[in-house]
Protein backbone atom coordinates (compact mmCIF):
# COMPACT_ATOMS: atom_id res chain seq x y z
CA UNK A 1 0.00 0.00 0.00
CA UNK A 2 1.27 3.44 -0.87
CA UNK A 3 2.19 5.70 1.98
CA UNK A 4 -0.52 8.22 2.64
CA UNK A 5 0.30 11.01 5.00
CA UNK A 6 -2.51 13.42 4.29
CA UNK A 7 -6.25 13.07 4.28
CA UNK A 8 -7.30 10.35 1.90
CA UNK A 9 -9.93 12.48 0.21
CA UNK A 10 -12.03 9.36 -0.22
CA UNK A 11 -15.58 9.08 0.90
CA UNK A 12 -15.16 11.64 3.68
CA UNK A 13 -15.39 15.24 2.58
CA UNK A 14 -12.30 17.14 3.64
CA UNK A 15 -14.22 20.40 3.96
CA UNK A 16 -15.72 19.85 7.34
CA UNK A 17 -15.46 17.77 10.45
CA UNK A 18 -18.03 15.10 11.02
CA UNK A 19 -19.26 14.62 14.56
CA UNK A 20 -21.08 11.43 15.51
CA UNK A 21 -23.10 11.64 18.69
CA UNK A 22 -24.06 8.21 19.89
CA UNK A 23 -26.87 7.84 22.39
CA UNK A 24 -26.64 5.71 25.51
CA UNK A 25 -29.57 3.69 24.14
CA UNK A 26 -27.74 2.85 20.96
CA UNK A 27 -24.65 1.75 22.89
CA UNK A 28 -26.67 -0.28 25.37
CA UNK A 29 -27.77 -2.62 22.64
CA UNK A 30 -24.23 -3.41 21.53
CA UNK A 31 -21.63 -5.94 22.60
CA UNK A 32 -18.19 -4.70 23.67
CA UNK A 33 -16.52 -5.37 20.33
CA UNK A 34 -19.42 -3.79 18.45
CA UNK A 35 -19.05 -0.64 20.53
CA UNK A 36 -15.31 -0.56 19.92
CA UNK A 37 -15.82 -1.05 16.18
CA UNK A 38 -18.38 1.71 16.05
CA UNK A 39 -15.96 4.09 17.79
CA UNK A 40 -12.83 3.11 15.88
CA UNK A 41 -14.55 3.03 12.49
CA UNK A 42 -15.68 6.59 13.16
CA UNK A 43 -12.22 7.67 14.23
CA UNK A 44 -10.58 5.98 11.24
CA UNK A 45 -12.90 8.07 9.05
CA UNK A 46 -11.51 11.14 10.84
CA UNK A 47 -14.74 11.79 12.69
CA UNK A 48 -15.17 12.99 16.23
CA UNK A 49 -17.22 10.50 18.19
CA UNK A 50 -19.21 11.66 21.20
CA UNK A 51 -20.74 9.10 23.52
CA UNK A 52 -23.67 10.16 25.65
CA UNK A 53 -22.64 7.56 28.19
CA UNK A 54 -19.07 6.38 28.46
CA UNK A 55 -17.54 2.94 28.42
CA UNK A 56 -17.07 0.48 31.26
CA UNK A 57 -13.46 0.05 32.47
CA UNK A 58 -13.24 -3.36 30.82
CA UNK A 59 -14.39 -1.83 27.55
CA UNK A 60 -11.89 1.00 27.87
CA UNK A 61 -9.16 -1.54 28.40
CA UNK A 62 -10.15 -3.35 25.22
CA UNK A 63 -10.49 -0.07 23.35
CA UNK A 64 -6.87 0.79 24.20
CA UNK A 65 -5.72 -2.69 23.22
CA UNK A 66 -7.63 -2.61 19.93
CA UNK A 67 -6.44 0.93 19.15
CA UNK A 68 -2.84 -0.19 19.60
CA UNK A 69 -3.22 -3.08 17.18
CA UNK A 70 -4.69 -0.76 14.56
CA UNK A 71 -1.86 1.76 14.63
CA UNK A 72 0.24 1.13 11.59
CA UNK A 73 3.27 3.39 11.44
CA UNK A 74 4.21 3.87 7.84
CA UNK A 75 0.72 2.81 6.83
CA UNK A 76 -2.46 4.86 6.68
CA UNK A 77 -1.23 7.47 9.12
CA UNK A 78 -3.49 6.34 11.96
CA UNK A 79 -1.62 7.20 15.17
CA UNK A 80 -4.24 6.30 17.72
CA UNK A 81 -6.97 8.10 19.60
CA UNK A 82 -7.45 10.99 21.92
CA UNK A 83 -10.15 10.44 24.51
CA UNK A 84 -11.62 12.66 27.21
CA UNK A 85 -14.57 12.11 29.48
CA UNK A 86 -16.51 13.40 32.47
CA UNK A 87 -16.17 13.37 35.35
CA UNK A 88 -12.49 14.09 35.28
CA UNK A 89 -10.21 12.10 37.53
CA UNK A 90 -11.47 8.78 38.86
CA UNK A 91 -10.22 9.98 42.21
CA UNK A 92 -12.08 13.25 42.01
CA UNK A 93 -14.92 13.87 44.40
CA UNK A 94 -17.39 12.76 41.79
CA UNK A 95 -15.89 9.34 41.42
CA UNK A 96 -15.46 8.81 45.09
CA UNK A 97 -18.92 10.08 46.05
CA UNK A 98 -20.37 8.17 43.16
CA UNK A 99 -18.89 4.99 44.53
CA UNK A 100 -20.04 5.77 48.07
CA UNK A 101 -23.53 6.11 46.74
CA UNK A 102 -23.27 2.80 45.00
CA UNK A 103 -23.20 4.43 41.63
CA UNK A 104 -20.95 2.45 39.35
CA UNK A 105 -22.07 4.21 36.21
CA UNK A 106 -19.10 4.82 33.95
CA UNK A 107 -18.02 8.31 33.06
CA UNK A 108 -20.71 10.12 31.20
CA UNK A 109 -20.03 12.26 28.18
CA UNK A 110 -16.99 10.96 26.31
CA UNK A 111 -15.24 12.54 23.34
CA UNK A 112 -13.02 10.40 21.13
CA UNK A 113 -11.13 11.47 18.04
CA UNK A 114 -8.08 10.72 15.93
CA UNK A 115 -4.94 11.54 17.93
CA UNK A 116 -3.41 13.60 15.15
CA UNK A 117 -6.46 15.83 14.73
CA UNK A 118 -7.69 16.49 18.22
CA UNK A 119 -5.94 18.22 21.06
CA UNK A 120 -7.22 18.88 24.55
CA UNK A 121 -6.75 22.52 25.41
CA UNK A 122 -8.28 22.51 28.82
CA UNK A 123 -10.07 20.09 31.06
CA UNK A 124 -11.67 20.32 34.45
CA UNK A 125 -14.74 18.89 36.16
CA UNK A 126 -17.05 21.23 34.33
CA UNK A 127 -15.48 21.89 30.96
CA UNK A 128 -13.58 20.07 28.26
CA UNK A 129 -12.12 22.34 25.62
CA UNK A 130 -10.68 20.66 22.54
CA UNK A 131 -9.11 21.90 19.39
CA UNK A 132 -9.94 19.92 16.27
CA UNK A 133 -7.79 20.57 13.25
CA UNK A 134 -8.50 19.91 9.61
CA UNK A 135 -5.75 18.52 7.49
Amino acid sequence: MAEVTTDDGGETPTEGIQIDMISADRMDGLRTMEKIRLILDGVHDDNIVILESGLQPEEESKLIERTMTEINPDGDGFTGIEIESYPGGSGGDNGFLGRLMGNDEPNTLTVIGPADRIETLHKDETLISTLVTRQ
Partner: protein, 213 residues
Protein backbone atom coordinates in the same frame (compact mmCIF):
# COMPACT_ATOMS: atom_id res chain seq x y z
CA UNK B 1 0.14 -16.98 19.99
CA UNK B 2 1.51 -15.07 22.96
CA UNK B 3 -2.02 -14.75 24.22
CA UNK B 4 -2.56 -18.48 24.03
CA UNK B 5 0.61 -19.24 25.93
CA UNK B 6 -0.33 -16.62 28.49
CA UNK B 7 -3.74 -18.18 28.83
CA UNK B 8 -2.35 -21.63 29.21
CA UNK B 9 0.18 -20.54 31.78
CA UNK B 10 -2.45 -18.64 33.74
CA UNK B 11 -4.68 -21.70 33.77
CA UNK B 12 -1.86 -23.91 34.94
CA UNK B 13 -0.96 -21.29 37.51
CA UNK B 14 -4.49 -21.18 38.80
CA UNK B 15 -4.67 -24.94 39.11
CA UNK B 16 -1.22 -25.35 40.62
CA UNK B 17 -1.87 -22.69 43.23
CA UNK B 18 -5.02 -24.57 44.17
CA UNK B 19 -2.79 -27.41 45.21
CA UNK B 20 0.25 -25.68 46.58
CA UNK B 21 -1.54 -22.87 48.35
CA UNK B 22 -0.10 -20.06 46.29
CA UNK B 23 2.85 -18.88 44.30
CA UNK B 24 4.49 -15.48 44.41
CA UNK B 25 2.03 -12.73 43.59
CA UNK B 26 2.56 -11.07 40.25
CA UNK B 27 2.88 -7.34 40.73
CA UNK B 28 2.53 -5.30 37.57
CA UNK B 29 4.32 -1.97 37.39
CA UNK B 30 2.07 0.23 35.27
CA UNK B 31 1.97 3.90 34.38
CA UNK B 32 2.45 6.33 31.53
CA UNK B 33 5.61 6.28 29.38
CA UNK B 34 8.74 7.69 31.01
CA UNK B 35 7.38 7.66 34.58
CA UNK B 36 10.32 5.61 35.83
CA UNK B 37 8.78 2.12 35.88
CA UNK B 38 11.90 0.34 34.67
CA UNK B 39 14.13 2.38 36.96
CA UNK B 40 11.93 1.23 39.85
CA UNK B 41 11.80 -2.38 38.68
CA UNK B 42 15.59 -2.40 38.36
CA UNK B 43 16.04 -0.92 41.80
CA UNK B 44 13.75 -3.48 43.41
CA UNK B 45 15.41 -6.32 41.51
CA UNK B 46 18.93 -5.07 42.30
CA UNK B 47 18.15 -4.52 45.97
CA UNK B 48 16.81 -8.02 46.49
CA UNK B 49 18.21 -10.27 43.77
CA UNK B 50 21.34 -8.49 42.58
CA UNK B 51 20.44 -8.11 38.92
CA UNK B 52 18.40 -5.79 36.76
CA UNK B 53 15.24 -6.13 34.71
CA UNK B 54 15.82 -3.99 31.62
CA UNK B 55 17.17 -0.80 30.09
CA UNK B 56 16.05 2.64 31.29
CA UNK B 57 15.94 5.62 28.98
CA UNK B 58 14.73 9.18 28.62
CA UNK B 59 13.23 8.13 25.28
CA UNK B 60 9.56 7.21 25.85
CA UNK B 61 8.53 3.63 25.06
CA UNK B 62 11.95 2.27 25.95
CA UNK B 63 10.19 -0.76 27.39
CA UNK B 64 8.20 -2.36 24.62
CA UNK B 65 7.71 -5.82 26.04
CA UNK B 66 6.56 -6.76 29.51
CA UNK B 67 9.57 -8.09 31.42
CA UNK B 68 9.43 -10.21 34.47
CA UNK B 69 11.70 -10.73 37.44
CA UNK B 70 10.57 -13.77 39.31
CA UNK B 71 10.83 -14.69 42.95
CA UNK B 72 11.92 -11.38 44.35
CA UNK B 73 12.05 -11.98 48.07
CA UNK B 74 11.58 -8.83 50.12
CA UNK B 75 12.39 -9.07 53.81
CA UNK B 76 10.54 -6.79 56.20
CA UNK B 77 10.57 -6.92 59.98
CA UNK B 78 11.51 -10.57 60.21
CA UNK B 79 8.89 -11.59 57.66
CA UNK B 80 9.47 -12.08 53.99
CA UNK B 81 7.23 -11.65 50.96
CA UNK B 82 8.01 -13.08 47.56
CA UNK B 83 6.70 -11.39 44.45
CA UNK B 84 7.17 -11.54 40.71
CA UNK B 85 7.82 -8.05 39.42
CA UNK B 86 6.44 -7.31 35.96
CA UNK B 87 7.75 -4.16 34.28
CA UNK B 88 5.34 -3.09 31.55
CA UNK B 89 5.48 -0.69 28.61
CA UNK B 90 4.07 2.75 29.33
CA UNK B 91 0.38 2.87 28.53
CA UNK B 92 -0.94 5.37 26.02
CA UNK B 93 -3.79 5.71 23.51
CA UNK B 94 -1.52 6.95 20.74
CA UNK B 95 1.90 6.28 19.25
CA UNK B 96 3.35 8.38 16.46
CA UNK B 97 6.65 7.14 15.09
CA UNK B 98 7.57 10.73 14.21
CA UNK B 99 8.06 11.46 17.89
CA UNK B 100 11.00 9.07 17.95
CA UNK B 101 12.66 11.07 15.19
CA UNK B 102 13.08 13.92 17.67
CA UNK B 103 15.33 11.64 19.70
CA UNK B 104 17.76 11.23 16.83
CA UNK B 105 16.41 7.88 15.82
CA UNK B 106 16.37 6.99 12.11
CA UNK B 107 13.02 6.55 10.43
CA UNK B 108 13.31 2.81 9.94
CA UNK B 109 14.20 2.30 13.55
CA UNK B 110 11.46 4.71 14.66
CA UNK B 111 8.84 2.75 12.72
CA UNK B 112 10.05 -0.50 14.22
CA UNK B 113 10.01 1.00 17.71
CA UNK B 114 6.46 2.26 17.21
CA UNK B 115 5.31 -1.11 16.05
CA UNK B 116 6.89 -2.79 19.08
CA UNK B 117 5.51 -0.12 21.39
CA UNK B 118 1.94 -0.62 20.19
CA UNK B 119 2.24 -4.38 20.54
CA UNK B 120 3.71 -3.93 23.99
CA UNK B 121 0.92 -1.66 25.18
CA UNK B 122 -1.71 -4.06 23.83
CA UNK B 123 0.02 -6.88 25.66
CA UNK B 124 0.24 -4.86 28.88
CA UNK B 125 -3.51 -4.20 28.75
CA UNK B 126 -4.12 -7.87 28.25
CA UNK B 127 -1.90 -8.75 31.19
CA UNK B 128 -3.77 -6.29 33.34
CA UNK B 129 -7.05 -8.04 32.65
CA UNK B 130 -5.78 -11.57 33.11
CA UNK B 131 -2.42 -11.98 34.69
CA UNK B 132 -1.52 -9.67 37.54
CA UNK B 133 -2.42 -9.91 41.21
CA UNK B 134 -1.55 -6.39 42.22
CA UNK B 135 -0.44 -3.11 40.67
CA UNK B 136 2.12 -0.44 41.41
CA UNK B 137 1.00 2.60 39.44
CA UNK B 138 4.00 4.85 38.83
CA UNK B 139 3.62 8.53 38.06
CA UNK B 140 6.20 11.19 37.35
CA UNK B 141 5.39 13.62 40.18
CA UNK B 142 6.62 16.56 38.14
CA UNK B 143 3.77 16.03 35.66
CA UNK B 144 0.03 16.61 35.77
CA UNK B 145 -1.54 13.40 37.10
CA UNK B 146 -5.04 14.30 35.86
CA UNK B 147 -4.75 12.69 32.45
CA UNK B 148 -7.34 10.55 30.77
CA UNK B 149 -4.92 7.64 30.53
CA UNK B 150 -4.26 7.72 34.27
CA UNK B 151 -7.95 8.01 35.04
CA UNK B 152 -8.83 5.12 32.74
CA UNK B 153 -6.02 2.88 33.93
CA UNK B 154 -6.74 3.40 37.62
CA UNK B 155 -10.44 2.82 36.84
CA UNK B 156 -9.58 -0.43 35.06
CA UNK B 157 -7.42 -1.55 37.99
CA UNK B 158 -10.21 -0.71 40.46
CA UNK B 159 -12.76 -2.60 38.41
CA UNK B 160 -10.60 -5.71 38.69
CA UNK B 161 -10.46 -5.30 42.47
CA UNK B 162 -6.67 -5.48 42.39
CA UNK B 163 -4.68 -4.06 45.30
CA UNK B 164 -2.97 -0.91 44.07
CA UNK B 165 -0.34 1.52 45.32
CA UNK B 166 0.28 4.86 43.64
CA UNK B 167 3.97 5.76 43.47
CA UNK B 168 4.80 9.45 43.09
CA UNK B 169 8.25 9.14 41.51
CA UNK B 170 11.07 11.63 40.84
CA UNK B 171 10.73 13.48 44.15
CA UNK B 172 14.41 14.40 43.82
CA UNK B 173 13.32 16.99 41.26
CA UNK B 174 12.27 20.45 42.46
CA UNK B 175 9.08 20.54 40.39
CA UNK B 176 7.77 17.31 41.92
CA UNK B 177 4.48 17.60 43.77
CA UNK B 178 3.41 14.57 45.79
CA UNK B 179 0.34 16.47 46.98
CA UNK B 180 -0.94 16.85 43.44
CA UNK B 181 -0.65 13.10 42.92
CA UNK B 182 -2.42 12.18 46.15
CA UNK B 183 -5.15 14.72 45.37
CA UNK B 184 -5.70 13.04 42.04
CA UNK B 185 -6.21 9.62 43.59
CA UNK B 186 -7.43 10.20 47.17
CA UNK B 187 -8.98 6.74 47.34
CA UNK B 188 -5.52 5.12 47.14
CA UNK B 189 -2.34 5.31 49.12
CA UNK B 190 0.35 7.46 47.51
CA UNK B 191 3.99 6.66 48.25
CA UNK B 192 6.62 9.29 47.36
CA UNK B 193 9.99 8.11 46.09
CA UNK B 194 12.91 8.64 43.81
CA UNK B 195 13.59 5.40 42.01
CA UNK B 196 16.70 6.95 40.50
CA UNK B 197 18.25 8.21 43.74
CA UNK B 198 16.79 5.51 45.95
CA UNK B 199 14.98 7.98 48.21
CA UNK B 200 12.31 6.65 50.58
CA UNK B 201 12.82 3.03 49.54
CA UNK B 202 12.24 1.80 53.10
CA UNK B 203 8.67 3.01 52.98
CA UNK B 204 8.35 1.61 49.46
CA UNK B 205 9.26 -1.89 50.66
CA UNK B 206 7.11 -1.58 53.78
CA UNK B 207 4.11 -0.75 51.62
CA UNK B 208 4.85 -3.48 49.09
CA UNK B 209 5.00 -6.02 51.91
CA UNK B 210 1.84 -4.63 53.47
CA UNK B 211 -0.20 -4.54 50.24
CA UNK B 212 1.06 -7.52 48.33
CA UNK B 213 2.37 -9.85 51.01
Amino acid sequence: MGILTDLRSSISRATSSLFTGGEPKRIGIYGPPNAGKTTLANRIARDWTGDAVGPESHVPHETRRARRKENVEIKRNGKSVTIDVVDTPGVTTKVDYKEFLEHDIEKEDAVRRSREATEGVAEAMHWLREDVDGVIYVLDATEDPFTQVNTMLVGIIESQDLPVLIFANKIDLDEASVQRVSNAFPQHETVPLSALEGDNMDEVYDKIAEYFG
